[in-house]
Amino acid sequence: MTVLRRVVLALGLPVVLVAAWWFASAGSTDFYFPPLATIVEVFPETWFGSRLTDDVLPSLARLGIGYAAALLLGVALGIVIGSNRWVRATTEPLLEFLRAIPPPVLVPILILVAGIGDTMKVLVIVSGCLWPVLLNTVEGVRSVDDVLADTCRTYRIRGRLRWWHLVVRSASPQIVTGARQALSVGIILMVISEMFAANSGLGYSVIQFKDGFQIPQMWSGVILLGLLGVLLSVLFRLVEHRVLSWYHGSRTASEEP
């Protein structure tokens, strides 16, 4: 009963909405709002052919590389900055400023420096994803529990063990928060970097359809981007669930004394 109820509640509204779109747009002759049936029809031929290997996968690969690089760099720098009071005080205003620059405006600069190839696009993604990860890591490292830090000192837990079991693990909830913010920034920048100057990629294709007035194809691209966003956030949640199971568990435990 409860399972059925939950399924109905979870799927009910989305089904209703899609159905409403389907029937409302059914006989549409409006050039900009083609029937959903038409969009669904062009979807496979638009995206599952050579575009999958030529545009979609390279875009995702760039996102993956840029995102991973930003994570590594952000966590490493964040630990260095967060562990030292002086470094933190020195870099704080600078980081505040750099973070406040909207990442897409860096695209023109990076085109100057790195051209319009893959390097530029990956750099754009790194330069946007870095800040949320970095700043959250700094916060996380800074808020390491002092009793736990004392425990490490009295038991002479040092070096790599201390670094991993005390610093990184304590900061991991904040690192994950930063990584989540970085992921949505990354998707945005993946698209933007390709809208600017490119000759392939997911964002580029969508803009091509727009310029060529291939409206159903353009709609299918918008839907694909949306689905990718949703898919990546689901993946992220699965990973988070594994990495932070201890955290969610201890939070629930402390809420019910």
Binding site: D150, Y155, W246
Partner: protein, 259 residues
């Protein structure tokens, strides 16, 4: 074994100067069980942190087996009051006990034996795979004690370890600590504000004054070595000793107020 000589600690900051410890001198014999009691806010925790090498004293020295303590020394373990914060929430119980041994470079097979032994000793033989936060407060403190046992320290410092657990659990843990001490022959310094607890547990009670802290009195607890909650606590000698400590602490409090 543990020698505290002319120790003082002054905190300064924001234009304020707080003298937490005035002048402390005492020694703890190897293998003995000493309780340190004093009115609340008398710098007991500061003393313990200085002994553990976590806090540099303003003046005076702490020496462990003749060697001056400048940082956390080898062979010393601390059980903190805040059990919820001294265990690694992302490590399972067995891994929590294991981590200091890994840091000390103990071989894997020996580590496994030590961990199993220590957890059995505190009655948590079936909780190896649990996370700390899945256990009750008293059980979490048992894990912290097991971690200290497995580490095989020469000196064990405990900072009001049972202040945050309920009365029933507290009695059990007191007996556990007595038996651990008797079996391991470790030197145990136990800080508490509970006079009954101090008298029940130890061989000797050091009473402190209010801050700036000095030693107010030093009392040998001549109760029999075999103790249990029922008979020991109803022993007339227990009541007598308890009264002595109580009077001394009250006096210290009054002096602290008039000063």
């Amino acid at each position: 074994m543990l020698a505290v000589n002319g120790l003082s600690k002054v905190y300064t900051g924001r234009g304020r100067r707080v003298e937490a410890i005035g002048d402390l001198t005492f020694t703890v014999e190897g293998g003995s069980f000493v309780c340190v009691v004093g009115p609340s806010g008398c710098g007991k925790t500061t003393l313990l942190r200085c002994c553990a090498g976590l806090l540099p004293p303003t003046s005076g020295t702490v020496a462990l087996s003749g060697a001056p303590v400048t940082g956390p020394p080898d062979g010393l373990a601390v059980v903190f009051q805040e059990y919820g914060r001294s265990l690694f929430p992302w490590l399972r119980v067995a891994d929590n006990v294991d981590l200091p041994l890994r840091a000390a470079g103990v071989a894997r097979a020996e580590r496994r034996d030590l961990v199993t032994e220590a957890l059995d000793a505190v009655g948590l033989g079936d909780a190896h795979q649990a996370y700390p936060w899945q256990l009750s407060g008293g059980m979490q403190q048992r894990v912290a004690i097991a971690r200290a046992i497995a580490y095989q320290p020469r000196v064990l410092l405990m900072d009001e370890p049972f202040a945050a657990v309920d009365a029933q659990t507290r009695a059990d843990l007191e007996d556990l600590i007595r038996s651990v001490w008797q079996r391991l022959g470790v030197t145990l310094v136990f800080v508490t504000h509970d006079i009954d607890e101090a008298v029940y547990l130890s061989q000797r009670v050091i009473m402190l004054t209010a801050s700036p802290t000095r030693v107010a009195d030093d009392l040998v607890i001549d109760l029999p070595a075999e103790r249990d909650q029922l008979t020991t606590r109803s022993d007339p000698r227990f009541t007598e000793l308890r009264g002595l400590v109580y009077a001394q602490i009250q006096k210290a409090k009054l002096e602290g107020r008039t000063r």
